[in-house]
């Protein structure tokens, strides 16, 4: 019977490694460094076969390219947080980067060739290369391919990071929901409630068998609903009120002459879907704080009505007031959490002193459920 189950059995797993992972960036830069070392190595080996070429010439050639390319890549990595929202739309993401390409061509060719010319001039030689027209076309083509390749790698790494982050958030949300549901179940059918209800049955059995029988059936119905509702998020208001009636029925039997219950229900609202088991903690609170601590007779009112585009459900009791240092208990907190998960800011729960007692007011929008 999962009514009494322990929170550990909820099957909620914790996820690790949530933030944009710096570890993957290390991988990226290691890959980058390895690539350039390889390029330099290959070109040294290539040109060493030519006796007229000195060892430093391929190093200068690839080194100058590596230097400027690294500068641009560093900038690209720095802005990736800004472009992260577009990871879901690869075309926009790539376009955001690639529209800088012309600037990359100009700066890259200017700086790289200046370095080469400078160094050659410094050792009293002339750096020879094809015509500028050819250089511009050739290098631009090379840079485009090269940029596309490395952006692809960056895209892969960032997409993976974002996927991990989203998965983590999703798990967190699911966990919060599962905990809320579990707490709801435990809060509503606490062992104390069950044992006292059973004791009431055991007392009635000796005087009024029919009434004891009815109470057992009511208790059974309530248990059945609470077991089923954990799987079923929303339920028609009529169902939710029926659950409330079952609970109230049992409590009324226990506190017989100490409570009177009255229901004011707008019948046109009964088909509206509401979160299952949302209201029960409110009624339970009334019994716990309004009825149990006092010997005076308490009037409990449950009213359901339409209030300017919202469904308003009020559970109120006479005779007791909120303590000045009142804090929301677990029941209220869970109720609020569930409302905000389902409806965002559109729904609310307010608890305050009203007239001669306390009223808990749930307001749910009649249209537009935010999922």
């Amino acid at each position: 019977m999962n009514v009494l189950s322990h929170p550990l059995s909820a099957g909620v797993h914790t996820d690790y490694g949530a933030t944009f992972p710096p570890k993957t960036l290390v991988t990226f830069w290691a890959l980058w460094a390895a690539f350039w070392l390889l390029m330099i190595g290959v070109s040294i080996e290539d040109q060493l076969r030519d006796p007229l070429t000195r060892w430093w010439e391929p190093v200068l050639s690839e080194g100058s390219s590596a230097l400027v390319s690294t500068g641009w890549m560093w900038l690209a990595v720095r802005v990736r947080e800004r472009y992260a929202p577009y990871l879901d739309k690869p075309l926009i993401w790539f376009a955001s980067y690639l529209h800088w390409l012309p600037l990359v061509f100009i700066t890259w060719i200017t700086v790289v060739y200046s370095i080469r010319h400078g160094v050659y001039a410094a050792v009293g030689r002339i750096y020879e290369h094809p015509t500028w027209g050819f250089v511009v076309v050739y290098e631009s083509f090379k840079l485009t391919i090269f940029t596309g390749l490395w952006l692809g790698i960056l895209f892969g790494i960032d997409s993976y990071g974002q996927w991990q982050l989203q998965r983590h958030r999703l798990l967190q949300t699911q966990k919060a929901l599962a905990q809320a549901q579990l707490a709801q179940l435990q809060g509503q059918l606490r062992p104390h409630f069950l044992f006292n209800a059973l004791n009431t049955v055991s007392a009635l059995m000796h005087t009024d068998v029919a009434r004891a029988d009815r109470l057992v059936a009511t208790l059974g119905d309530l248990l059945r609903i609470s077991l089923r509702s954990s799987e079923n998020e929303m339920t028609p208001l009529a169902e939710e009120l029926r659950t409330l009636e079952l609970y109230a029925g049992i409590m009324h039997e226990r506190f017989r002459d100490r409570v009177t219950l009255s229901w004011q229900t707008d019948q046109t609202l009964l088909d509206i879907p509401v979160p299952a088991l949302l209201l029960q903690p409110l009624l339970e609170n009334v019994f716990k704080h309004g009825v149990e601590p006092t010997v005076t007779r308490v009037r409990i009112t449950i009213s359901v009505r339409r209030e300017s585009g919202s469904l308003e459900i009020v559970v109120s009791n006479s005779g007791s007031m909120l303590a000045p240092e009142h804090h929301d208990g677990m029941g209220f907190r869970n109720c609020r959490e569930r409302l905000s998960i389902i409806y965002g800011d559109a729904a609310s729960l307010r608890v305050r002193n009203e007239d001669d007692g306390v009223a808990a007011r749930v307001s749910i929008p009649l249209t537009g459920i935010i999922q």
Binding site: N199, L204, R254
Partner: protein, 246 residues
Amino acid sequence: MIRVVIADDEAPAREKLERWLVEQPDVDVVGVVEDGLSAAQCIEQLRPDVAFLDIQMPMLSGLQVVGQLELSSAPLIVFVTAFDEHAVKAFDLNAVDYLLKPYDQDRFARTLQRVRERLHGHESGATAVAIGRARAPSCERLLVPDRERLQLIDAASIEWLEADDNYVHVHTPARSYLLRRTLQDLLSQLGEQRFVRIHKSTAVNINSIESLTPLFKGDYEIHLNNGRILRLSRRYREALFVRMGQ
């Protein structure tokens, strides 16, 4: 006859227990009440042999009721509770009688049989009182007689206590109350956080002391905030100084 008091805030539970107790040839149910304060009052006035107390009750819990009773004259206590893990643990350890709701006739009969044996052995409810005092913070409030009724006063409002044979005068700014208790017993209930003994027959609330004036031979005069002057005897001097130095 075994004189019994029943206290439970739920009518069906009360009726069940009363019916079963009335069926016993050697039991006389002398009081049935619905809340903790009435239970304490009933026990005080009717001096029953046994009290069947629910734990969760309005005004005072069953444990609080028991914590307010005088150690030496407390009746045997049977706690009747639906679910209170901690309380039940305490019961198991100290062999205080209890009935877990829901209970059947067998368990009820067993508990009653044990009560009969305890009464036969002239046991009192002292163990239960000790548990009640330890488990329920009864040091914060004190049950005092006010004409025909009992009422709860804030322990912090008590300025000093004055023993008078088997009675204690409890002095508060508003008025004094007379309790049929020993000073020792009352101090053990109120705890040593707040009250300290200054004489064989007086104890004072540490917070109501304004100043001390030395007299001859190591005695002191204690001046209270309300202007009253009490005598601190040498015997209790060190203990008070240690407490005030803290």
